[in-house]
Amino acid sequence: MSDYVVQMKGIEKSYGKNEVLHGVDFLLEKGSIHALLGENGTGKTTLMNILTGIIPGNKGEIAVDGRIMQVNGSAVEQSSEIAFIHQELALINDLNVFENLFLGCEIKKSGKLAKKPMYEKAKEILDMMDINLDPKTMVSDLNASYKQVIEIARALMKKAKVIVMDEPTTALTNVEIEHVFKIMNNLREQGVSIIFISHKLNEVVEICDSYTIMRDGCVVQAGKVDGNITEEDLARYMVGKDLNYDELYKARTIGEEILRTENLSRDREFKDINISVGKGEIVGITGLLGDGRFELMSTVYGCNKDYNGKIYLHNMECKMNHVQKAKKAKVAYLPRNRKENGIIKDLSVGENATISIIDKIRKGLFISHKEDRKLVANYVQQLNIKVKDTDDLITSLSGGNQQKVMLARALSSNPELVILDNPTQGVDIGAKLEIYSIIMKLAEQGVSFVVLSSEAHEVLMLCDRIYVMFHGEMRKEFSREEANEEDIMIAATGGTIQEMR
């Protein structure tokens, strides 16, 4: 019994009529790293929120460290033992490390902040984690992996026995990921248990001891991660069917040039970029944080007026100073960060899909609702969008389905060139594959794509040519044949990996 630090039994939860957890069992061994897997919208986050007391459950039992907890318990009761590190880090950049660690629980001496004891305590914890970092360092000076580490340190300071990490590695580079993994291993040896939520199955195989896989609010598989389990097995359990990435790519003949840039530059963002995209071609641009690929392509889309160099669309020079110019040239854009730049939260699924072309769907002065509905139904069918009623708010959909609606919006204007910025961000494996095959199918029909992605395997799988950027410079161009993950990584880090060897 006492081997398990967390035991959850028969957890049920529903929002309105919508039941999201149907009696979930979850066990976490003491001193282990446990992967919690599943596509978006399967109830992982809900389960963790119930565990940490952020939201109440309807039914079931929870025991943490042998103590029975209320399923509908308050956050205060449980948060001391279980720490939840969210995907979006909650650190304040303008404060230093120890100030961040003690945020909300500052040590005070006669009403004044006692900086010295806080500093020493912070140093102690960082030393315990085997991290060589001065607690006086400003958080804004830290790289992404250290920020993740600071979050872990904050959890440890509260004497958390269980740490829940929600996709901690998405924003990290490979070197940084190794760094975080080292610390996770350290913690495991000290008896801390970690629940690791991730979409990256290779990481799960690498670091986790056991796993639980959820699908549609149920646990479909749980067990140990040992030599017998492979990434493919995990992916199959998650999706419930075999996945085949290899058959995705289809060789095509590339047509005449659609887009070309000549010495395109913008102050402090990117410099002297020359790229070209042919008809029906899928071109990938990858790199690490701060590589300038987003700034580059948003300039091509007409978001920035003040650029130097030239942009040619269909061999005609265009001054791309407004997104309307892009629309006219039949260029469409699927922005990154769906929540900020994509979804219009007060509009319905259908209204979100057709907002770019609604001025064209008319009957006299008014919108032709009949035609609008027909179009939306078409997208729902073509892109396999799972939605009950297209008049429901867009926010009622899961991430993957929201992204498909965004894709529908980008495709609605029948573009010839589509810029996809992080097209599978926060999208589960099943929907990812569907999005990839939609892109491939359209490319076969002659639509050109520029795919911006930080994940090398994504561009490798999809693209005919791959550009790699580093600090606003174009470092390397690979054809599909010569590209591989390692070389891309080397180019993306500006060659530092090679030097390290």
């Binding site: 997104v323 900020e340 007060d346």
Partner: protein, 324 residues
Amino acid sequence: MKAKVKDRDWKKWAGDNSALLAFAALFVLAVILQGRMFLSFNNIINILRNNAVIGIIALGMTLVIITGGIDLSVGSQLAFTGVIIIQVFNQTQSIVLTLAAGVVMALILGSVTGLLVAKFRIPAFITTLGSMSIYRSVAQYWLNGGGLTAAGDKLDSYLSISNSKLFGVIPMPIVVWIVCAVIVYLFAQHTATGRHIYAVGSNQKAAELATVRVVKVKCFAYSILSLLVVIAAIVETSRLGSVNSASSGSSYEMDAIAAAVIGGTSMAGGKGKIGFTVLGTLTLGIINNMMNLMGVNSFLVDAIKGAIIIVAVLLQMVLNGSEK
């Protein structure tokens, strides 16, 4: 379990339709307190007519608030355009020219506000706070702080705009209000620009990237509001036969904003319904009427009105907050 689900559905419905609930509650309260007197045909017509001007302005205010903006200048705009309208009428004695001058005026004022807010990104609150002072000050300068009376051979036909009755029963201001409400409703719900207004208010960045012309949409919203203000100015000046540069339209912006907000329009933008704004206006109207009939000291009327606005919005927030 089941009861809980129902409970939530009810709360969601109540949150979405709080304007209807507030209106119904006050209506019932008025019937209980005043009975026949409140329900009499004359009293109902009175309420409608007395609130037509605010009601017309509130329709446009709702659109502007949905874009995420606000217009504080509508009261002084009413005085400003009222002065111009009567001036033009007195000079030309032509209803057509007077109306044309009003429309041109509205389009100019609305576009300028829209450009300042959307293109130059001055917060709407500040822009219209400034224009509020400008309109009022210029109107008072023209008339030396006094009023202007409509006059001339055609005076009767001008006055008849507001003082005639449809079928001899329904006063014209009410008819104008209803027609405006229907047109603005159709615009908001059934045209592309109407949908763009919601999109811009809900997520401007996303709308812009989806090739919605944000500047154009905002200019449109402010222009429609200005147009409705001109219509309100015509209704008001033709009813009274005069305009006062100091007092005409004074504090109308507050009533129009209150009507929209009681109608459930979100100050954060993206949410709002024209039909509910009409109900919001009527709710305010009933409050006024009730206190009138009950003989509440007129200096206290605003205090009670203010309190009811706060309670209505608080209730909305509580009900909407429970959605999660």
